[in-house]
């Protein structure tokens, strides 16, 4: 048992099916109440869609798993109503340091720009993240969250999936239009549907130790290659809340996991690292091997795979839960439009298309980091050490040091939902890009762009002066709000003021919006409910906006 955390035990309630007997039909069932399944269920409920969420256990993540949650995941968690709780409890950090043998060779800043709401990363034990998400889900009447409900069989036809669910009181059947498989790396749904997951296991083992101690090391990520206290291997140190420190020791493939887990082996390793006199207690110890793999297709007719069930990465880069949360972010608005019959079912193929691409990028980056951290051949080791020996003095070599490329969102550059630029723009906010944040002001009140722009399609029209918006422009914008999938029009203005027609005005108080979005008078951005850019223009033309909208919801 952990000394700093007591696992909640959530109540199992006998399901209505076992009382009433009849098989029910649901619109959406999510299997797995890990971070990804919870995020998906909350998002659906916030959009007004009832959702059944099944989990085979009755508590949150056991043991030490995910700890680092990146800026983009925090922005999604903000949208789901738990961002503040996570950031308040978590340890925010932006600096990573890398050591080779005795010396620091390199350090990096995660966030190179000022004026973003969220930090580059927070550290937070996964059980806290899940606990906050469960609390949020329980606040939403549309989430029916059932603990100790284990899916034991699944089959599907063209228009529904049928599940058998095992509970302490027996087995029941249910039917659902859509099934979201969020049941983790060993996905039983994947197995029951006879689907493959392809990739590779890395031939190395890592000891993961959580240690409780009082230490005044700064809130930074420290990574050692070949340190004097753990020769020939790597070590990673992270600070978590509650004075818990995560230490990862690379052990090599030959290590015996059962032996290495014993305190008599773990404690000397930690003592060698910290120096002999520091007091600490072991909170959790486990030994892992890591894999990089994914399913070929994330959509199989009525079943949509998300999170670790769909893809699994090594943890160097913290791309597991971070990318899973982005899967849910990408899927749910699409599924909701399909359920409301406002978009064709093929829109769900774009979920698979976009998130398979993101998974490939995550897998590529994690595979590269793993190769650098645990070189697979002596040639690879020689190059690795050569890079590290040059990194202290030569900037080009610093750029090659790869102790984990930490989770950043993918730019969905080639997505079929994007409308390509037809005019010239500078900067990063190309169609498919996740939106950059910016500080704004609305009626004298400070707010963040990403808090103002979310959950629905929006058209951000940049103007110098709100009052100067003329009648023709207003008339041109009118059809957007009335489209079947409404587009909310907002002015982002260089100066504050009142716009005609009651249009909402966001003042670009620090000028960051104009800078980051290369905006000038007349520039318009169509943005998606998941805060990605769909299309952009230099002038406002509602015909073009409606065409881009149709494309973004798969109606082309």
């Amino acid at each position: 048992m952990l000394s700093t955390y007591g696992h909640p035990q959530y109540a199992y309630v006998p399901p209505v099916e076992l009382r009433a007997g009849a098989t029910r039909r649901y619109a959406v069932v999510v299997v797995g109440a890990g971070p990804v399944g919870l995020a998906a269920a909350i998002d659906l409920a916030q959009r007004g869609t009832p959702v059944l969420l099944l989990d085979d256990d009755d508590t949150v993540s056991v043991g030490s798993r995910g700890i680092c949650y990146a800026k983009r995941a925090l922005e999604v968690l903000d949208r789901l109503g738990v961002g503040d709780g996570c950031v308040a409890k978590g340890v925010s950090w932006n600096v990573g340091r890398t050591f080779f043998r005795d010396d620091e060779v390199y350090n990096f800043q995660l966030l190179s720009q000022p004026d973003h709401k969220r930090p580059g990363m927070i550290n937070l034990q996964q059980y806290y993240l899940e606990e906050f998400l469960v609390k949020r889900a329980q606040e939403l009447p549309l989430v029916d969250l059932r603990w100790k409900n284990k899916v034991v069989a699944v089959c599907q036809s063209d228009d529904l999936a049928t599940l058998q669910v095992e509970t302490p009181d027996g087995v029941y059947a249910l039917e659902t239009d859509w099934l979201i498989a969020a049941d983790g790396a060993r996905s039983s749904l994947r197995r029951m549907l006879n689907l493959e997951v392809e990739g590779k296991v890395f031939m190395d083992r890592f000891l993961i130790a959580d240690v409780v101690m009082k230490a005044d090391f700064p809130a930074e990520r420290w990574f050692w290659f070949d340190p004097p206290f753990h020769r020939g291997q790597s070590v990673l140190l992270h600070r978590q809340p509650d004075n818990v420190w995560r230490i990862d020791f690379q052990l090599g493939w030959q290590a015996d996991p059962e032996e290495e887990k014993k305190p008599e082996h773990v404690i000397p390793r930690i003592k060698a690292m910290l120096g002999d006199d520091r007091q600490f207690d072991l909170e959790w110890v486990s030994v892992y091997t890591f894999q990089c793999r994914r399913m070929r297709d994330f959509r199989h007719r009525r079943v949509l795979f998300v999170g670790d069930a769909a893809h699994q990465v090594s943890p160097f880069g913290a791309r597991g839960a971070n990318s899973g949360i982005q899967d849910a972010d990408n899927l749910i608005w699409k599924l909701n439009l399909v359920l409301d019959r406002k978009a064709p079912e093929t829109l769900l193929d774009s979920y698979a298309e976009e998130r398979e691409l993101a998974a490939d990028e995550n897998l590529m980056n994690s595979t590269r980091s793993t190769e650098f951290i645990t070189p697979g051949s002596s040639a690879s080791l020689t190059f690795r050490n050569a890079v590290l020996s040059l990194a202290g003095r030569y900037p080009f070599a610093r750029a090659l040091v790869n102790s984990g490329r930490l989770s950043v969102p993918s730019v969905l550059e080639g997505s079929s939902l994007n409308t390509p630029d037809s005019e010239c723009f500078r900067g990063e906010m190309i169609p498919g890009a996740p939106m950059d944040d910016a500080p704004l002001r609305e009626a004298g009140r400070e707010l963040w762009l990403l808090d103002a722009v979310r959950d629905r399609f929006m058209l951000l029209c940049y103007v110098d002066t709100p009052a100067a918006v003329d009648a023709t422009t207003l008339a041109a914008l009118a059809p957007l709000g009335a489209a079947p999938v409404a587009v909310e029009v907002v002015l982002v203005a260089a100066r504050d003021g009142v716009a005609p027609g009651g249009l909402r005005v966001l003042e670009d108080s620090a000028g960051r919006y104009a800078e980051r979005y290369d905006a000038r008078n007349g520039t318009a951005y169509l943005v998606r409910p998941d805060q990605h850019v769909s299309a952009r223009w230099r002038t406002i033309d509602s015909e073009r906006v409606l065409a881009a909208l149709a494309r973004a919801i798969g109606r082309v």
Binding site: S378, F396, N402
Partner: protein
């Protein structure tokens, strides 16, 4: 006189990069891939050939000499 460039310098004209670390990581992956399934002796030979090719491409002996001397530091 030209001097050795030790700033990060990898690029790919056919590709748009979104992250500063990506071009260097592309290079490093290609380098490690080139050594796959080679014995140590074969790897050493590959490295020697690679250095000869790249040195000839640079051409300017002042630059090559500077690189040689940095490469030898602390070895």
């Amino acid at each position: 006189m030209a001097t050795l460039n030790t700033a990060a310098n990898f690029s790919d004209p056919d590709k748009r990069y979104f992250r500063a670390f990506s071009p260097g990581d592309d290079f490093y992956e290609a380098l490690i891939d080139a050594h796959r399934e080679l014995s140590d002796a074969q790897s050493a030979l590959l490295n020697a050939r690679l250095i000869l090719l790249l040195a000839n491409h640079i051409g300017d002996l002042n630059v090559v000499r500077e690189a040689l001397s940095i490469a030898r530091e602390d070895v």
